[in-house]
Symmetry: C2
């Protein structure tokens, strides 16, 4: 069991100072769950009851736009947290769905556990603040990218943040993430390969 | 001076429990500044060195998109906080500009003051977390609105959140906020008025 929580321990320790005793108490409340490739971890319309830490594998966050089309909003890589935070904190129906892109192992942190952490960890509130700030930066970057970057710039940014993306994710999800057609994405890839 | 901080005291007290003694110490470090209508409070490319609390008046947050057009991102109303949080926390050049839409009075909270608050207020980190979460919800709602709402839905949402917007903000800024042309906005308004 201990090994399952090694990654999340490392990540949380990079945010805050946490003693071994604090960690043992906090981590005893985490759950771990394995999901097969293509499993749905959160369904749009359901309340998001956990924050998900990707221990191994890869998740895709998506929603349905006003044309009824599925749009990929975010890829959550190993060693990152993901949730529909608005649904999680406000207990509203989720606007997003989350799906495993590969066989994926997740550490689940429920709201009760998170709130318990705010109270009992010396730096619990600080951890919450830093995680909220990080996710705020992700949302802010996505918003700005929609308005201020061309599809080619968004493509380069994705490829540089996520080096083996084309081996791990089907092309139509990447196109949907970039908000372009699969044909447009093929053209970008082929032009980029010609120029390198 | 005390009266200048009555609004921010009320808002902060709605987030956390803060004693009179704590408040007196914290608020002694705030600055207040008056800006005339149309003044630029933050220029894109500069580092955002303060969080701004709108004590009176109204601010507009905007940026330049990849067609060189100005896009209004957010209107910050009285009794709300605003900043380019990414620039503020990471000390990067700001991606946004902020302008006073009316004669506006602002309480400025510098990063040093905010960080001092994290340490000395019993609930300083909690305040930071709750403010970050609130701004995260704003960004998340904006992102979803772009993809999942029609211009008419966005128009209704804006009008319901901000009842006298058409008396206070020139139409072209509202159109830019809704990401539609001024002609399109006039048509929406006129259709809405006909139906009410």
């Amino acid at each position: 069991m201990k090994d399952n929580f090694r990654n999340i321990h490392k990540v949380i320790s990079s945010y805050i100072d946490i003693s071994d005793k604090e960690w043992a108490c906090y981590a005893s409340k985490f759950r771990i769950q394995e999901f097969e490739k293509k499993s749905i971890i959160l369904n749009e319309g359901n309340i998001c009851r956990d924050v998900f830490f990707v221990n191994k594998g890869l998740l895709r966050v998506y929603f349905i736009d006003n044309n009824g089309e599925e749009k990929t909003f975010h890829f959550a890589l190993k060693n990152t947290f993901i949730a529909d935070y608005e649904s999680f904190f406000k207990r509203n129906p989720s606007n997003y769905s989350i799906q495993a892109m590969e066989d994926t192992s997740i550490v689940l942190v429920s709201r009760d556990v998170l709130e318990h952490g705010y109270k009992v960890l010396r730096n619990g509130e600080r951890l919450g603040r830093l995680l909220a700030e990080d996710y705020l930066f992700i949302c802010n970057d996505k918003l700005l990218a929609i308005y201020t970057q061309t599809p080619l710039q968004r493509y380069h940014n994705l490829a540089s943040e996520f080096s083996n993306i084309f081996q791990r994710i089907p092309q139509h999800y990447i196109a949907s993430y970039l908000n372009i057609s699969s044909v447009h994405l093929s053209r970008l890839k082929s032009n980029t390969n010609k120029n390198t």
